[in-house]
C-alpha cells in the first residue's frame, strides 16, 4: 500500500521533471521523485541509503542543478525537439519499457516468496566500508576530490581569462 503511494509519487515526479516547460519546476519535481525514491528505499529496509539519497540528491545534486539553471540564463526556448524526432523518441522509449516490463513479467526467477527483512545496521555498513570495501571507498574519495577540483576549474576557468 505504502509502496504503491510512494512509487506513484516517484513516477509522477519523474514524469513532471522531464515534461514541465519551466526548468525550475522540473527540478522541484525531480526533488519530489528523489524523495519518493528515498521513501521506497526506507520501505525496503535500506535506511542508510534512504537518508543518503536525501542528503546527496536533494541536498546537493538538486541544489547544484538549481544553481546551474540560475547561472545559465535560459533564452526561453525550453521547447521539445522537433515533432518527428519527438515521435521517434517516444516510440523508442515505449519499446524499451515494453521489453523491460515484458522481461520482468515473464521472468520465472523472480517468483519466489520474499525472504525476511535482512539486517543493514549502520555498524555493518561501516564495517563493510572500512574493511571489505576500503579500497573502493578510497577510490571514490579520490574521484570526488578530482571532480571537485575539476568542476571548480572548469567553472572558474573563463572568469580569469576575461579582461
Amino acid at each position: 500500500m505504502l509502496f504503491t503511494i510512494f512509487a506513484a509519487l516517484t513516477v509522477a515526479g519523474a514524469v513532471a521533471a522531464i515534461s514541465l516547460r519551466n526548468l525550475v519546476h522540473s527540478v522541484l519535481s525531480l526533488i519530489l521523485a528523489f524523495a519518493g525514491l528515498a521513501a521506497v528505499y526506507l520501505l525496503l529496509g535500506a535506511q542508510f541509503i534512504g537518508f543518503a539519497q536525501i542528503l546527496v540528491y536533494v541536498g546537493a545534486v538538486a541544489i547544484l542543478i538549481v544553481f546551474t539553471i540560475l547561472l545559465t540564463r535560459n533564452d526561453g526556448t525550453f521547447g521539445h525537439s522537433s515533432q518527428a524526432s519527438w515521435n521517434l523518441g517516444a516510440l523508442i522509449v515505449i519499446a524499451v519499457f515494453g521489453t523491460l516490463a515484458w522481461a520482468i513479467h515473464s521472468s520465472t526467477a523472480l517468483h519466489h516468496a520474499p525472504p525476511p527483512q535482512p539486517e543493514a545496521t549502520m555498524q555493518q555498513i561501516g564495517t563493510a566500508l572500512m574493511v571489505r570495501f576500503a579500497l573502493p571507498l578510497e577510490v571514490i574519495g579520490l574521484l570526488l576530490t578530482a571532480a571537485l577540483i575539476g568542476a571548480a576549474t572548469i567553472a572558474l576557468h573563463e572568469k580569469q581569462e576575461r579582461p
Binding site: A14, A17, I18, S26, Y41, I92, V93, L110, P136
Partner: protein, 103 residues
Amino acid sequence: MTPLSSCLLLSSLLFSVGFAGVLMRRNAILILIGIELMLNAANLNFIAFWRYGSAPEALTGVMFVIFSIGVAAAEAAVGLALIISIYRHRKTTQIDRMNSMRG
C-alpha cells in the same frame, strides 16, 4: 506481482522516464536530469535485489549503491560545470546547438 517484480517494474518505469527525458528534450540540464533518473533507477534495482535476493548479509547491493551515489554526485558536479562552461562560450544550453565537433 511479487514485491521484487513490482520494485523492478518501478525501476524500469523510472528508467524509461529518464530515457525519455534524454531522448526528447534538447536542454542539457534536462538531459542531465534524465541521466540522474536513470541512475536512480539502477540504484533501486540494486537495493531491490539486495532486499529480495540471496545473501543479503554481504551488503553488496547497498555498497554498490553507496558508491553509485558518490559517482553520481561527482558526475553531476562535473556535468554541470561543463554546462556552465559551454554556456559561457556559446550562450546556450540547447544540446543540438553544441555541434562544433560535427564533421
